[in-house]
């Protein structure tokens, strides 16, 4: 016990000097003393895979019912304009962890490996005296890393790191461990609950990353027939086999659209009830008031829109994510919807700022803490979308710029560029590029894209 205390103090002391060293700040400017006060918040980040922004009842979905996420949003804040800077699991996850664009952190697709020198927000929280845990899907190319600053690292490598829904073997701090609960979402939630239930003196920072709701969408048995008789209003351009034709099968969707769609909905419902279970425990333990809970998806998903399945493309269904933040200490008007644009790269700087820790200068995201505090806080004006070719998926390299009202998209292939007014045409059906309006807007959008690529921010 004494050894543990000494070790803990030593780590905090080391953190006091190491954090500023790593991030280029002077020790005097670091508000660590504040972070070490008894009121410093716990951090819980729940990340799901391929959960599209509107598959929540709070977001108006016609089929899916998600009472726990709705509760989280009503007690906190739903960001209705949340996006990922790259709509693909590995790059997006690395962006959440590091606060960096994919071209900076280097995980540009599912083939380019994670760089061990990358600094995660977990590492920074650890250096600030937090107990930290990474539980769930890592799924970045290369071996499972030895993450610095993570006390508990529970993940899986089976099926290329995708894991599986049933009896998924885990790797707990480097040791192969069988799953205790046959269903992955419940197993990971159980382990997250165990982590927050441990007796401790330090605050905790938990990264809970579900395999769900990624394919192969295998729901728990009691949900296997949920929504069976519901008629889903699919987009006009979709059809039964859009999940199976023209290279779509690489998304793991061979078969009928309706079959996969409903299983996806069922898995979302199961995530929701596990989020509910976790939130109840948080409350039971008395942590709810002083814990920042963030729920997000790593990218969206097409269900026939644009005759596509999967994600990757720079259309709204793919780049928008569910994003909910609950932090009673900071959000004084719970239930508000924030309309400012926030990004996956904003998570790390925001959590650090909310916890009173310094935000490293190298992070490319912008803290959304001012938006939590005030509805009138200024949002960013534009941001860069990027997607790198990812063999064998049928999508070219993409770069684009998204503003409050428009998105301009360029492809690495011969495919012509596209420009959409996302306010008047939210389903992006009318490419403006050759219209008078498009010709008028194009120079500014192109310039903005060029500036963003050079690192300029439009915050």
């Amino acid at each position: 016990m004494i050894n543990k205390l000494i070790r803990g103090r030593a780590l905090k002391l080391a953190g006091l000097f190491l954090v500023p060293l790593l991030i280029g700040l002077s020790p005097a400017s670091s508000p660590l003393s504040d972070a070490q006060s008894p009121k410093r918040p716990n951090i819980v980040f729940i990340l799901t895979d391929d959960h599209r922004w509107d598959f929540m009842s709070r977001a108006g979905h016609p089929v899916v019912k998600t009472p726990s996420l709705d509760r989280l949003a009503s007690e906190g804040m739903l960001f209705s304009n949340a996006f990922v800077t790259s709509a693909l699991c590995s790059p997006s996850r690395a962006s959440f962890l590091t606060g960096l664009y994919a071209h900076t952190h280097g995980v540009q697709n599912n083939l380019t490996p994670w760089r061990d020198e990358s600094v995660t927000f977990l590492e920074l929280f650890k250096q600030a005296g937090y107990d930290t845990a990474f539980i769930g899907k890592w799924h970045m190319p290369g071996r499972l890393p030895k993450l610095r600053g993570v006390d508990l690292f529970v993940s899986f490598t089976i099926q290329g790191g995708q894991g599986r829904y049933w009896n998924c073997p885990l790797i707990v701090n480097g040791v192969e461990t069988p799953s205790r609960n046959p269903y992955i979402t419940e197993e990971l939630t159980d382990r997250a609950i165990e982590f927050i239930s441990q007796k401790r003196d330090n605050p905790f920072c938990l990264y809970l990353s579900h395999k769900a709701v990624h394919h192969e969408w295998s729901p728990p048995k009691d949900l296997a027939r949920l929504y069976e008789d519901v008629k889903v209003p699919y987009p006009k351009e979709a059809d039964t086999w859009v999940t199976s034709m023209n290279g779509a099968v690489y998304a793991g969707t061979f078969g009928r659209l309706d079959y996969h769609y409903k299983n996806y909905c069922r898995v979302v419902v199961d995530v929701d009830r596990n989020v509910g279970r976790f939130l109840n425990k948080l409350e039971e333990l008395g942590f709810a008031e002083n814990t920042i809970v963030v729920y997000a998806g790593d990218n969206g998903y097409f269900w026939g829109e644009h005759r596509l399945v999967d994600k990757r493309w720079a259309y709204e269904e793919s780049i928008r994510i569910p994003f909910i933040v609950r932090f009673p200490r900071l959000i004084k008007d719970p239930g508000r919807r924030a309309h400012q644009m926030v990004l996956n790269i904003d998570l790390a700087p925001s959590l650090l700022e909310a916890a009173g820790l310094p935000v490293p200068e190298h992070m490319q995201g912008k803290s959304f803490v001012p938006i939590l505090k005030s509805a009138s806080a200024q949002g960013r004006k534009a941001w860069l979308y990027e997607y790198s070719k990812d063999f064998p998926y049928n999508t070219p390299g993409i770069e684009g710029v998204r503003t409050d009202t428009h998105i301009y998209i360029e492809y690495s292939s011969k495919r012509p560029p596209e420009l959409y007014d996302v306010v008047k045409d939210p389903r992006q059906q009318r490419n403006l590029i050759d219209t008078e309006e498009g010709k008028r807007l194009l120079p500014e959008m192109k310039k903005m894209l060029g500036d963003l690529k050079k690192g300029k921010k439009f915050d």
Partner: protein, 220 residues
């Protein structure tokens, strides 16, 4: 399958070897059932072209059907053509092989006729994905899991059809040397193993990751 060469003498069209024709073949009924080797167009071009026409035609109609304003027509057309396209790729040999067989195609012709459909499909896929990948990678894309599954299905079905067609002939028109030739059995086994490894083993993910390892080794 026997081509009649003379009184009581024939040529086994499956193997090309001489074969005795049973006396019962002299009966009129049997004459209809004994396959005369058709012309090249009839025994090879026709079944091949039929398979190709269904595969390519259904794909084309499927890909334009969404432009139809009437949603009911669009949905039905897409359903039928999408199903037809996939059925042709997954099970086309069940149609092509017997036609070629009963029109007197040789073993090599029957096999080639069945393989043309997946090979042409793969070629169209290679052309399609050159939008996304350089030429070498597009070629590698052409041997993706789907293509391997189609080849495995073709092997499985060719073996099955060979046995069924021989059995059918023996029952009605005389006996070829063997109803269950070794080649057909091997073909069935290869097909079953291929389908299992690529499609069924953990839903195909293991094979997919092997395929990706191949990509990394070749192109990264």
């Amino acid at each position: 399958m026997v081509k009649v060469l003379g009184e009581g003498v024939g040529e086994d069209l499956l193997t090309g070897r001489p074969s005795l024709i049973l006396t019962s073949l002299k009966a009129k009924r049997h004459e209809r059932l004994v396959m005369q080797r058709g012309t090249f167009a009839r025994r090879f071009v026709f079944p091949t072209a039929l398979g190709l026409a269904i595969m390519l035609g259904t794909l084309w109609i499927y890909n334009v059907s969404w432009r139809i304003e009437n949603d009911t027509i669009h949905q039905w057309l897409a359903f039928v053509t999408g199903l037809g396209h996939m059925a042709m790729l997954l099970g086309g040999s069940l149609l092509i092989y017997p036609i070629a067989f009963f029109r007197g195609a040789t073993l090599a012709e029957r096999i080639i006729a069945c393989l043309v459909v997946p090979v042409v499909w793969s070629a169209t896929e290679i052309i399609r994905v050159t939008e996304f990948f350089p030429f070498g990678e597009s070629l590698y894309y052409g041997v993706n899991s789907q293509f391997v599954v189609y080849l495995a299905c073709a092997a499985l079905q060719m073996g099955l059809c060979e046995i069924i067609c021989r059995w059918w002939i023996r029952g009605r028109a005389g006996a070829p040397a063997k109803v269950v030739p070794r080649g057909a059995v091997i073909s069935i086994l290869v097909g079953l193993v291929g389908v299992y490894v690529v499609m069924i083993w953990e839903g195909g993910v293991h094979w997919f990751y092997l395929y990706q390892q191949g990509y990394k080794a070749l192109f990264l």
